[in-house]
Amino acid sequence: MVNAIEVRDLTVAYRERPVLWDIDLDVASGVLMAVVGPNGAGKTTLIKAILGLMKPAAGQVRILGKPYRNVASSVGYVPQRGTVDWDFPTSVLDVVLMGLYGRLGWIRRPGRSERKEAIAALEKVDMAGFAHRQISQLSGGQRQRVFLARALIQDARVYLMDEPLQGVDATTERAIIDILHSLRSSGKTVLVVHHDLQTVSTYFDEVLLLNVRRIASGPVSEAFTDTNLGLTYGGRIAIIKDAQ
């Protein structure tokens, strides 16, 4: 069976500094994988390179065995919350509908059936009551749910999420994890940039430890070891794990 995501010899450089160095990664279908690593490890860059948002200096990426352009409609993307201006004059429903712009094609506007889909997606993240809210009135956790709904409406096979659990409250975290798990049980592949090492083993099946290079990847029980964490974070992280 073809892997959901295949990364070969991927190197990405910003000006002359390499951000990702010679990355190889296979993510099988139906896997929920966390990407962890220190700041500047290239986690976001990896997601962006997979999506073709950043041009690699070398290497290639295949999604479902094909280049990204050919399978874009099967890929859902949840960017970091902070990347957009939440004071933009638009409503929650409008943002979710943006997930359908690829499918709608040029010139066509979203209509009644698309709006119904958007409401359904908002129901999944428990935000249907906020459909007509202006987006600046939302809390951080609510904004994250809206971004998630925008990805869910894409009905993709592969999801790439950049820090969806960053700075959300416990309720939202629970809700998002439930959604991630239900995505996995319906056979979707989900790659999640994650920052909380304590929850990696409870939330995820597999993990990629990243620090410019790939330190380790695979099932959490095999890859998420003290040795590998030390290699990723520079030795200090085992203390935190011991304290747990």
Binding site: A72, P79, T90, M98, Y101, I107
Partner: protein, 370 residues
């Protein structure tokens, strides 16, 4: 006959400025939301050498010829800004400032050069600095209408793509929308919108027509479409108002008049617009504070009465003053609550909750627990 001619001129000017105001208002909406207001300034200043060159090359003062020259120069300026920011370490604002002043300087040099042309009457070109609505003729207005119409239709056709480009370009990219082409397209529309207005408003102040109506409109709505509409109407009103003022008063340049008018709209909007307006926010905050303060007094009375198994148990003001030391404020709060029928004062001077007051307290406590 004289009267008819005047009306005719007036109508031409009115129509032309209304169109330019509406088009720049619509495109300004996107420029402001994409934080490109200063790009508009660079484009309009950079258009000046384009106008000069177009005149030197063709010896024509036809508005379409000059607009093409202005447009090409404006477009070239944005390309240079992009090139400088992507290939050097010069930051965006510095690149804009650099391009703006260099192009504008070149434009002034060209205008001076043209002034010394033997057979050219350059008076027409001078008006491009600060704008001269009175110089608009029917041909100009037709050109403006056609170009403006094309811009608005294009904006409408690609509305949802431009909206996504403005809100979340990376997500647009992930949907494999041609983000770079959309960006070039929207910037080109902005350049055309600016070029349309140069003869009337002038290169120096044209950016205000891009920024001001949109900034004013943002205050009134949280919907992109409505914002664009308000911005268009505001732009048209400013255009017409300023143009009429400047044509009725001799030698008043049109650009500054229009811009002063637009500035007025912005100030008023910032002050009184609901939700976002400064005055509105002040009032809302005062009302909110007052409500919280009197609710606090109400709940304190509730707490005190609860110790007596009778929620309507009266207490002297002194008992409350332990919690609320400011005497005047406390008395005013109690009177205000009395006015709402939530507390009542006994002849002894003691205060007690009314049944309504008890109900409100229970609701408030419920809300806070949730």
């Amino acid at each position: 006959m004289e009267q008819f001619f005047d009306d005719y001129t007036l109508r031409t000017v009115t129509l032309g400025t209304a169109i330019l105001g509406a088009v720049s208002g619509a495109l300004g909406t996107f420029a402001v939301l994409r934080r490109q207001s200063l790009l508009g300034d660079a484009v309009s200043h950079a258009a000046l050498p384009g106008i000069g060159l177009a005149f030197i090359l063709t010896s024509s003062k036809a508005s379409l010829v000059l607009m093409v020259g202005a447009g090409l120069a404006g477009w070239l300026a944005t390309a240079v800004v992009l090139l400088v920011t992507t290939s050097t370490r010069v930051k965006y604002d510095s690149a804009l400032g650099l391009v703006l002043s260099v192009f504008f300087g070149a434009g002034l040099v060209l205008l001076t050069f043209i002034q010394k042309y033997p057979n050219a009457n350059q008076a027409g070109l001078d008006s491009f600095l600060f704008g001269q609505a009175a110089s608009l003729v029917v041909g100009d207005v037709i050109t403006m209408t056609v170009l403006g119409g094309i811009v608005l239709v294009a904006l409408l056709l690609f509305w949802k793509e431009f909206k996504l480009l403005a809100f979340d370009p990376e997500f647009a990219h992930s949907l494999v929308l041609p983000v770079r082409w959309l960006d070039i397209g929207l910037t080109t529309l902005l350049v055309v919108a600016i070029v349309i207005g140069l003869q009337t408003v002038g290169v120096v102040l044209m950016s205000a027509m891009i920024i001001a109506p949109a900034a004013a409109a943002r205050q009134w709505t949280d919907n992109l479409g409505v914002m664009a509409l308000i911005s268009m109407v505001t732009g048209a009103l400013c255009g017409v108002g300023g143009a009429l003022l400047s044509t009725s008063t001799s030698n008043l340049p049109t650009g500054p008049t229009i811009v002063v008018c637009a500035g007025g709209f912005v100030v008023v909007s910032m002050l009184i617009a609901p939700h976002r307006g400064i005055i509105w926010q002040q009032v809302r905050q005062t009302v909110q504070n007052r409500k919280l303060k009197s609710e606090a007094v109400l709940l304190d009375l509730f707490e005190l009465a609860r110790k007596h198994d009778d929620l309507g148990y009266p207490h002297m003001e002194t008992a409350l003053r332990v919690i609320h030391p400011k005497r005047g404020t406390l008395y005013r709060q109690l009177r205000r609550l009395e006015g709402r029928g939530l507390v009542k004062m006994y002849d002894s001077g003691a205060w007690a909750l009314t049944p309504d007051g008890i109900l409100v307290c229970k609701q408030l406590l419920d809300e806070r627990i949730r």
